[in-house]
Amino acid sequence: MLTRLSGGRIYDPAQGIDGEVRDIYLRDGRICAPPADPAMADVHYPLEGQVVMAGAIDIHSHVAGGNVNNARVLMPEQHVARQARYPGLPFGGSPWSTFDTGYRYAEMGFTTVVEPAVLPINAGHAHAELADIPILDKAGLAILGNDDFLLRLLRGGAGQATVNDYVAWTLCATQCLGVKVINAGGAAAFRFNAREFGLDDEVPFYGVTSRRILNALQRAVVALGVGHPLHVHCNNLGVPGNVDTALRTMEAAEGLPMHLAHVQFYGYGADGPHGFSTGAARLAEALGRHPNITVDVGQVLFGQTVTISGDVMRQHAARGIARPRKWALWEGEDGGGGIVPFRYRAGNFVNALQWAIGLELFLLVDDPWRVFFTTDHPNGAPFTAYPELFHLLMSRDHRARWLARIHPEAADACLLRHLEREYTLYEIATMTRAAPARLLGLGDRGHLGPGAVADIAVYADLEDRGEMFRAARLVLKDGVPVVRDGRVVNPVRGRTHAVNPDYDRAIERPLAAWFDRFHLQRLDNFRLDPGRLAETAGAELVIH
């Protein structure tokens, strides 16, 4: 079947197309070259005056897994039992369910989402939940860096080749797309009662530094040829003055590719009367010097949310500021997790400055290929607040309205008043489509060239960019219309993407011995089998 999308203004940075009116043709779920005769199309969508982009990609959003579920249990008031808003669908109206996640993302034109923190011990659960999210294509990043086996390897002076094998084995065992490291060694140090942990601190008992762990993992990811660079959650998240940590981490990358997650939370100086200031300019300047580094912002937006993190040390420190006053923290095999509900308030100096720092990062970093659109859902704000963030990036006036409302000292302490930049649709398409696809190593999406999957979002060109991105006029997933006029019309199933790099099977001998000696399960039970995943969770895996 041939489908024709005609008359829309195309924004496709991967091909350098900036708002040209062109026709797009789709066949069998893929974009194809135009046929000789446009009339050959079986289905025709006239899109005159509308904006056409590839489906958006979220590279960092906590949508599945044990910690997300713990947060659901801790925050029942966030998903009060309601009857289905969509007749005919089970639990279709239940907020914060897998259905809700898929629906809300699709309605904004997103078609691929990455869960950036899959604890290997939780990978089975994470995959079951990812498989249950309708419409979207999904992927997970496996967490390493606080696990006993890796730290033992490094303590024992194992070579990089052994670490590479272990990382590759983990990726295959968890069926993930990349590797994430959260406060490398911090959660392990937390077990030995450390409550502060920097890049050059040693993990007690293991005697390896955070820097050593980071380097070993980063080199492994590069050596294995995994498309997505090491995804790093640095030390000292949320601590005033931590911009130095972020800068040292960039240096530690030694020119190899590395992705720093939610850098807004590392953009803090310790100056000023409140001992809290913006470090966004220093971060942006450092990014200019380190072309190997990419970042996502983790923007804060005001309102109630819940912070979910594998950084147990940070979450333990933040438990006192939980609003409502309840929190949950657990420590487990590969790390752990902490859930701290939080309410960001515009009238609070620190929260307002966090908000401003995120926006400064967006506006100061000139390269939309290297700065990514996230709120670290739900840590900075739930993903449902994305339209507001699009609006802030694309409208100086909207920012000015907010600057008048936030804590006045924060408004004075930040650079935001002096930043005139407004994101264009082309830059937005780069940041949310072309660049994420490239960063994740998923060449078949994020653009509208022939051969790409037919994941396409169509928006009305409205003055109010928030309204525009809140409700896509039309979303196609694999060529099938799934959203019309901002409402889901067809909740198709999405796929899960993973990489399976090659490794030397010899690693399984010491691993099996370690599992037998220390672990709750045997190695063969720990490792996920794609056939079983398909059978039990309904996950359709695509191995890259």
Binding site: Q78, A81, P87
Partner: protein, 270 residues
């Protein structure tokens, strides 16, 4: 102008969600437009006109004739006006009521007046369980207004109440006034097991000698605090029997639940 009337044609084929049918939303709609409104019924929508015969009138007063235990969400979120039901209603009647009056001449299902914050609900029959209580996951129950049940109430009446007045003329089920934060609950008949369990603050008046209170309540002896002379007449205006039940004698008083905040009070005659 007479009331807008919806007369049920026959028992509905599935659970019907009437929460969208509110006087403020019906204002300005003609009878034909009202008949075309889609109501969720079971797993698929059905036109209102298929279930109800519509007699046009002023939507500020809405009458529903011929109730059914499968009509859910009647007058949910009502902010003003009157809704009158001649018959039974299902779950979530008057949920989140903010103002106006809901009058049910029949029994009502679970979660009647769930988390209401104003207005009045009168149930002339019996009410189901979790009267005024929040839905699963909600943190706050009734937060204002008056909820008056002429018959009996099911288990967990008034759960997690924050403010307002809850009156039950008949009996209340188990765990009456469970986990209430504040507010006033008055049960003229018998209250079931674990009455007041988890009570933080608030006042529970019983018209019948108390039995089966949780062990975490302390009996403080017989006493008659002054505020009863103000409160009892308020109750008596709605149910005259209160004057005689809580007459001039000292009442037994318990404080609790000491397993939580422990500043709640229960009063009952000997």
């Amino acid at each position: 102008m007479s009331a807008l009337t919806l007369a049920l044609r026959q028992p509905p084929p599935g659970r019907v969600d009437l929460s969208a049918i509110r006087p403020d939303r019906l204002a300005g709609l003609g009878a034909a437009a009202i008949e075309r409104l889609a109501l969720p019924c079971g797993r698929s929508p059905v036109a209102l006109g298929e279930l109800f015969r519509v007699h046009p009138g002023d939507p500020a007063e809405l009458r529903i004739l011929g109730g059914d235990a499968r009509l859910d969400g009647v007058a949910a979120g009502l902010a003003g006006g009157r809704v009158l039901v001649e018959g039974e209603v299902g779950w979530y009647a008057g949920e989140g009521l903010r103002g106006g009056v809901l009058e049910i001449h029949g029994d009502s299902g679970p979660f009647t007046g769930s988390a209401m914050s104003g207005g009045e609900i009168h149930v002339h029959g019996d009410a189901g369980e979790r009267l005024g209580a929040p839905r699963a996951g909600g943190r706050r129950g009734m937060a204002g207004g008056v909820l008056h049940v002429r018959g009996s109430a099911g288990a967990r009446a008034g759960e997690r109440m924050r403010r307002g007045l809850l009156l039950v003329d008949g009996d209340a089920g188990d765990c009456c006034a469970a986990r209430i934060i504040a507010g006033t609950v008055a049960v003229l008949g018998r209250a079931g097991a674990q009455t007041g369990v988890g009570m933080r603050r608030g006042t529970l008046l019983l018209g019948t000698a108390a039995e089966g209170l949780p062990p975490t309540f302390n009996a403080t002896g017989a006493w008659r605090p002054g505020f009863l002379e103000l409160l009892v007449p308020v109750l008596a205006r709605r149910q005259p029997a209160w004057t005689e039940r809580l007459g001039g004698d000292p009442l037994q008083r318990w404080v609790g639940d000491l397993a939580t905040d422990g500043r709640g009070e229960i009063f009952a005659p000997d």
